[in-house]
């Protein structure tokens, strides 16, 4: 059905101009031992759009992201990314080809400072070998400083200058989430996978985070795939929404379409988030 779709389309929901499909997942199935986590899920992501994945707890949302950036290897299905078809991704390839992400329960490097955490995000962009780095000389030095400049831009963007040199372990939850976003951005990704970026935040923090996400999307033109429980947020900022339940896709479309989808309503009856 995707064959004859236009190269670019206009998202009614957000009035955002989205590009061609850059990531296309074709009937992905994943299971641990006997337990089925995902069954034959297919959906696509268009360039520059904000794509939301929603669904009740244990619906397989996080697993979906883990499949996309190669943490998990699906038993069947294929992943088409930038026209290149793969049985599965692997973390390195994913990162290399511009997929970055954040995690549901924060996965920062606790022992390191905010700055170092964000610098690690650029590790793939650092070319000088370890001997040069040991000497901290010439190109290595210049490179380090160049990347430092980049990271400082991100730090400014996320308004976390003050905690630059603080070990992330000591930061409050909300800030940690922000730093994690920073680390992902440091890689200057094509696609940004956000796993519940606003979980456990208060209203202001959520607003900030929303702002950051939207800014990232239109300043850097980054495509965003996000998992979020806060329906309000999802419905305002996302162009299209995939709904998963018990590892199956039960709905896919613009926020309004999804809102009207009967299965979705059933799935959500009882435990409607917020």
């Amino acid at each position: 059905m995707k064959m004859n779709e236009p190269e670019a389309s206009f998202s009614a929901a957000t009035g955002r101009q989205t590009g061609p499909v850059i990531l296309d997942l074709k009937n992905i199935s994943l299971s641990f031992g006997g337990v089925k986590a995902l069954t034959e899920i297919s959906f696509d992501v268009r360039q520059h759009e904000i794509r939301a994945i929603i669904g009740p707890n244990g619906a397989g949302k996080s697993s979906m992201l883990n499949v996309i950036n190669g943490v998990y290897r699906p038993q069947q299905g294929e992943i088409v990314y930038r026209g290149q078809t793969r049985r599965n991704m692997d973390c390195y390839a994913a990162a290399k080809s511009g997929i970055a992400r954040t995690f549901q329960n924060i996965a920062l490097f606790k022992g390191m400072t905010v700055l170092d955490n964000i610098m690690t995000g650029r590790n793939l962009k650092m070319k000088s070998n370890f001997l040069m780095q040991a000497l901290y000389w010439g190109p290595a030095r210049r490179e380090e400083i160049a990347h430092r400049v980049k990271c400082e831009e991100i730090i400014d963007f996320l308004e976390i200058q003050a905690i630059r040199k603080t070990p992330v372990g000591r930061l409050p939850y909300g800030l940690q989430k922000r730093v994690e976003l920073g680390r992902a951005l440091a890689a200057e990704p094509e696609i940004l996978l956000l796993d519940e970026p606003m979980a456990g935040m208060n209203v202001e923090e959520k607003q900030d985070m929303c702002r950051f996400i939207l800014d990232v999307n239109d300043q850097f033109g980054t495509t965003i795939v996000l998992i979020e429980h806060d329906m309000g947020v999802v419905m305002d900022i996302s162009d299209r929404v995939v709904v998963l339940d018990y590892g199956k896709k039960i709905g896919d479309g613009t926020p309004d379409e999804v809102r009207r989808n009967q299965d979705v309503i059933n799935a959500y009856l009882g435990h409607n988030c917020e």
Binding site: F32, N66, V71, F103, A107
Partner: protein
């Protein structure tokens, strides 16, 4: 290849394996419930054996008096260790705890020789360490009757511990703690009392080990080295599995003996030092969770 001899080596190996398992059990007990890799186990074994024979030699009492006394001493020692060393270090990284137990090992070794002197002692148990005549005559296979007895005792010990874990209230608590500290605390299990009990039990195991190894090799400082024999067993059997310790012990014992006898001569011999480790290592590469450990799914 002479088949009798093969069996001799195999049986000899298995029985030595039992002796290794004995030591390994001591490690597992502590590690399972408190995540402490207790390097002082060897020192405790030495301390227990030395105290026992020390009492016998100094006060000329019989073993039947000395053993109960030693049991008391070991229990006290266990409790003290838990109270003075581990309780202050609770929630520290494993490596810190590990280091602490090495410090503890030094302390105990010094203490033992301070109290009982540095002389070596003999320890004669009622069972003599000679080949079993019957098997000798029948199949011309040498099997030490002492080792057989040791195996029996080890079996007894394991069943006793198994019962302790399975049947008693304390045992259930122990298992709960082993599974999940937080949860155990949540349901109101007094973690520290459990650990105290555990260390006391570890002390007893050390005594049994010390008596058997002591009778086998004589009671001397080198008893502290038996810990090294237990490590490959632990890698193979898993740090948290009692059956793992036993099966691992048997496997290591048998394989290292077979290797020494049948491979050793071609490579200059003396491979027992590293062979068990390499074996355990190769095994781990295939099965990182060890013999009986449950599969590790790394989630994020």
């Amino acid at each position: 290849m002479n088949i009798n001899f093969f069996f001799e080596v195999l049986i000899g190996g298995l029985l030595s394996g039992v002796m290794y398992a004995l030591v390994a059990i001591g490690f597992v007990l502590i590690y399972k419930a408190s995540g402490v890799f207790n390097f002082a186990q060897g020192a405790m074994v030495f301390f227990a054996a030395l105290t026992c024979v020390g009492i016998v030699d100094k006060f000329g009492v019989s073993l039947w008096v000395a053993v109960p006394l030693t049991i008391v001493v070991m229990i006290v020692l266990g409790l003290l260790i838990e109270r003075l060393v581990l309780r202050p270090l609770v929630n520290q990284p494993e490596i810190t705890l590990f280091m602490a137990t090495i410090g503890l090992a030094f302390f105990i070794e010094g203490l033992a020789q301070l109290i009982w002197g540095s002389q070596v002692h003999r320890l004669e148990l009622p069972i003599e360490d000679v080949p079993l005549q019957l098997l000798m005559d029948r199949f011309n296979i040498l099997v030490s009757q002492f080792d057989l007895a040791a195996a029996a005792i080890c079996a007894l010990l394991v069943t006793a511990l198994a019962l302790l874990f399975a049947k008693t209230k304390v045992g259930r608590a122990l298992r709960a703690v082993a599974d999940d500290h937080q949860a155990a605390l949540a349901v109101g299990i007094p973690l520290q009392r459990i650990w105290a009990v555990l260390w006391a039990v570890a002390g007893l195991v050390a005594l049994v080990t010390g008596m058997l190894w002591g009778a086998r090799n004589g009671v001397q400082f080198a008893l502290t080295f038996v810990a090294l024999k237990a490590l490959p067993v632990l890698i193979l059997g898993g740090f948290t599995s009692m059956p793992g310790a036993v099966v691992g012990g048997l496997l290591i014992g048998a394989s290292e003996k077979l290797a020494e006898v049948y491979i050793g001569p071609y490579v200059g011999g003396g491979i027992e030092g590293w062979f068990p480790y390499v074996l355990a290592l190769l095994f781990l590469l295939v099965r990182p969770e060890g013999l009986f450990g449950e599969k590790i799914i790394r989630r994020i």
